[in-house]
C-alpha cells in the first residue's frame, strides 16, 4: 500500500495509575498524497490520540506508521524531530501562539528551529497566503480568534510541509470564521498539501474528500464526499 500516511494496527494505551485506557484499538489509517481527510467522533473517542501519533508527537504502544515513505518505528528522538520539521505542520484548537511574539515572529519561529534564518520573503508569502499581510506586527492579544488561528496555520506552513494536521482548529471560532478557515484549508489542499483535520462540526467535516468516524478507539466508518 502506498500513501503519504500509512498506519497499520495502531494501538495506544495510556496508564493512569493502575488503570489502563486504550485510546486507540488496532486502527488502520491510510491517507494518499493530496487528500483532505476529516475525522469526527464523540469526545473521548481517540481523535486527538490518533492525530498525535500520526504527527509523531506521541509514540504508539504498538503498530506501525509510515510517513512519506519513512518507517517511524524505532526512530530516535532527533530523527523524529527532523521528520516532524520536514513533513508536518500542526494546528491546535487553542492556537498556542507565543504571547511575546508578533504574528510575523510566531510564523518565523519554526524557521529558527530548522536553522533557516532571515527568510523575509517566505514569511511575507505565508502572511499573504493566510490573509494577514496587514497584521504582521500585531501581538496575539491584539488579534481576533480567527486571526490567531490564521497565524497558527501560517506557522504550520512556513516550513512548507506536505502534511497539515489540525486538531479541532475551529473549536474556538464562530461559524462564519470557521467557514473562512475551511476555505483556507481547501486552498492549501488545492496547492497539493495533504490535510487531516479533526472536528466536531459535521457540516465542516463534509467539506473534505473523506470523513472518518472514530468511536471508542476504533474506526467506525468512512464516508467519501463528492469534493
Amino acid at each position: 500500500m502506498s500513501g503519504i500516511i500509512v498506519a497499520e494496527n495502531l494501538c495506544k494505551v495510556y496508564r493512569r495509575g493502575r488503570e489502563e485506557i486504550s485510546a486507540l484499538k488496532n486502527v488502520d489509517f491510510h491517507v494518499d498524497e493530496g487528500e483532505f481527510v476529516s475525522i469526527i467522533g464523540p469526545s473521548g473517542s481517540g481523535k486527538t490520540a490518533l492525530l498525535n501519533v500520526l504527527g509523531c508527537l506521541d509514540t504508539p504502544t504498538s503498530g506501525t506508521l509510515r510517513l512519506n515513505g519513512t518507517e517511524t518505528r524505532g526512530m530516535k528522538e532527533s530523527e523524529l524531530v527532523r521528520l516532524r520539521r520536514q513533513n508536518i505542520g500542526f494546528v491546535f484548537q487553542q492556537f498556542y501562539l507565543m504571547p511575546t511574539l508578533t504574528a510575523r515572529e510566531n510564523i518565523e519561529l519554526p524557521l529558527l528551529f530548522s536553522r533557516k534564518t532571515d527568510n523575509k520573503k517566505r514569511i511575507d508569502e505565508v502572511l499573504q497566503m493566510v490573509g494577514l499581510s496587514d497584521r504582521g506586527d500585531h501581538l496575539p492579544e491584539q488579534l481576533s480568534g480567527g486571526e490567531m488561528q490564521r497565524v497558527a496555520i501560517g506557522r504550520a506552513l512556513i516550513n512548507d510541509p506536505k502534511i497539515i494536521l489540525a486538531d479541532e482548529p475551529t473549536g474556538n471560532l464562530d461559524s462564519g470564521t470557521s467557514g473562512k478557515i475551511y476555505e483556507l484549508f481547501r486552498k492549501l489542499n488545492d496547492q497539493g498539501r495533504t490535510l487531516v483535520v479533526v472536528t466536531h462540526n459535521l457540516e465542516l467535516a463534509r467539506q473534505a474528500h473523506k470523513m472518518y468516524t472514530l468511536r471508542d478507539g476504533r474506526i467506525a466508518g468512512c464516508e467519501e464526499m463528492d469534493y
Binding site: V81, F92, Y96, T100, E105, L112
Partner: protein
C-alpha cells in the same frame, strides 16, 4: 530573530521577577568583585610597602618580640639593642651590599595647639648609607651630615601636620631647639611621618651611646637572601627577619580575616544561585505547554534547553555587569568597611581594578548562569511534546 532575542522577550514577560533575580545576582557579584579586587590590591600594596624600605633583611636584637619587625615598619620602641660589634660582624658576611645601622626610638611631645601628648617616631641614621638604601629620597632644603648636631629631617606628611618649615625649630620635647634643615618630599610610605636625626645625636639624646636597634641589610643578589640570613643568624645577639617573613606574618593575620569574608561571599553566592534556579524552574514549569508546542513546530529538546540556558545566562550576565559597575562605583565605601576588619592595612588604596578582574567577574557571572540553568534546561528539554501540551489543559 534568534535564540537570544527569544530569551530576552520571554524575560521581559515577567519584568518584576526578572529584575529581582538580576538584582540578586548583581549583589552577589558586587561582593565577590570587591573582595577579589581588595585581595589583590592588599597584596600589591603590602608588597610595595615592604619593598619601599629598600631592605631585604632586618637584624633586630634577639629576644625581641617577633612583631618587632612590623614595629620597624610602622615605628615603635624596641626594648633591646645591638652594638657596633654586631654591625661589624654583619658587614663581614660575603654578599652584603649595604648594612645600615639605625636607632629607632619613640618619644612623646605635647602638641602646640591641643596640648595633648602625641607619640612620635625618630630614626637615628647614617645619612649617606640611608640615602644609598633609599635612592628615591629627595629633599626640600638640604640633608644633614653625620657629624652635625641639633639638626633634623622630617617627612612631608609630618611637616604638614605640625606646620614645620625648613629653617624652623622644634619647640618642645627631647629634640627641643633642633633645627629642621630639610623636609623629605613625599615618598608615599611611612617615611612621610617620621623624624630623622644623625645616629650619634639620637644616641646622645636617649643616652644610648654605641647602641642601635636595627641593622637594615641590602644584599647584592636577591637569590642569596636565605644563605646570608642563615649566616647572620649565627651571630649571637641577632635575630634575623627577612622581608618575606614579615609579609608572610602579615598575610597570615590578614588571611584569617579574609577567609571569614570569603565564607560570607560563598554563602551569598550559593543563596543567590538557589534563588536563580528556583526562579528558572518556576518559569520553566509555567511554560511547559509552550515548550511542547515548540517541539510540535519543530524544536528539538536541545533547542528548548538552549533557550532556557540563554535566559539564565542573560539574567546572570546582566547581574554581572550591574554588579561590577556597582563594585567599581562603591569601592571606596567597601574599602572603608573592610579596613575596619583587617588587622593590618597598608596605607595606599587597596582596591585595585584590573581589567583581568573585571573580565573574571563577567566570565564568572556567565558560568554561574550555566551552572544554574543546566538543570532547568535539562528538565525542560526532556519533556515529550504530548505530555507538555496536555499539561495543565484539564
Amino acid at each position: 530573530m534568534n535564540f537570544l532575542t527569544l530569551a530576552a522577550k520571554n524575560l521581559l514577560r515577567r519584568r518584576g521577577r526578572t529584575l529581582l533575580t538580576v538584582l540578586g545576582v548583581a549583589i552577589a557579584i558586587t561582593v565577590l568583585f570587591s573582595l577579589l579586587s581588595l585581595n589583590s590590591g592588599y597584596q600589591k600594596e603590602l608588597n610595595k610597602e615592604v619593598n619601599s624600605l629598600g631592605v631585604h633583611i632586618l637584624a633586630v636584637p634577639k629576644g625581641c618580640p617577633y612583631e618587632a619587625a612590623s614595629l620597624v615598619i610602622h615605628g615603635g620602641v624596641i626594648p633591646k639593642y645591638l652594638t657596633a660589634t654586631d654591625l661589624d660582624n654583619v658587614r663581614s658576611i660575603e654578599g652584603i651590599e649595604l648594612a645600615v645601622p639605625m636607632l629607632m626610638h619613640q618619644f612623646i611631645r605635647k602638641d602646640n595647639k591641643t596640648g595633648q601628648d602625641v607619640p612620635h617616631i625618630v630614626f637615628g641614621i647614617k645619612i649617606d648609607e640611608e640615602r644609598e638604601l633609599k635612592p628615591w629620597w629627595t629633599v626640600e632644603g638640604r640633608y644633614f651630615t653625620d657629624n652635625e648636631t641639633r639638626v633634623m629631617l622630617v617627612g612631608r606628611g609630618l611637616a604638614d601636620k605640625e606646620n614645620l618649615t625648613v629653617g624652623s625649630k622644634i619647640p618642645s620635647g627631647p629634640f627641643k631647639d633642633f633645627a629642621i634643615v630639610g623636609i623629605l618630599n613625599r615618598t608615599g610610605d611611612q617615611d612621610d611621618q617620621f623624624h630623622f636625626v644623625p645616629l650619634t645625636e639620637a644616641q646622645r639624646v636617649f643616652n644610648k651611646e654605641g647602641k642601635i636597634t636595627t641593622i637594615a641589610v641590602k644584599v647584592r643578589d636577591v637569590s642569596q637572601i636565605s644563605r646570608i640570613s642563615a649566616e647572620m643568624e649565627r651571630i649571637p645577639d641577632i635575630q634575623v627577619v627577612t622581608m618575606t617573613q614579615i609579609m608572610g606574618t602579615i598575610m597570615n593575620l590578614a588571611g584569617s580575616a579574609r577567609s571569614l569574608l570569603l565564607t560570607v561571599i560563598a554563602i551569598a553566592l550559593i543563596i543567590s544561585a538557589f534563588g536563580i534556579i528556583n526562579t528558572l524552574l518556576m518559569s520553566v514549569n509555567e511554560r511547559t505547554r509552550e515548550f511542547g508546542v515548540m517541539k510540535a513546530i519543530g524544536a528539538s529538546g536541545l533547542d528548548i534547553g538552549k533557550m532556557v540556558l540563554a535566559e539564565t545566562v542573560f539574567i546572570t550576565f546582566s547581574g554581572g555587569v550591574i554588579g561590577t559597575i556597582a563594585a567599581v562605583v562603591g569601592s571606596r565605601v567597601i574599602e572603608g568597611f573592610v579596613r575596619g576588619m583587617l588587622p593590618y592595612s597598608p596605607r595606599g588604596t587597596m582596591v585595585s581594578l584590573s581589567p583581568e578582574l573585571i573580565g573574571f567577574a563577567l566570565v564568572f557571572s556567565i558560568a554561574l548562569g550555566i551552572v544554574c540553568g543546566i538543570y532547568p534546561a535539562f528538565k525542560s528539554s526532556r519533556l515529550t511534546p504530548m505530555e507538555a501540551i496536555r499539561s495543565g489543559v484539564e
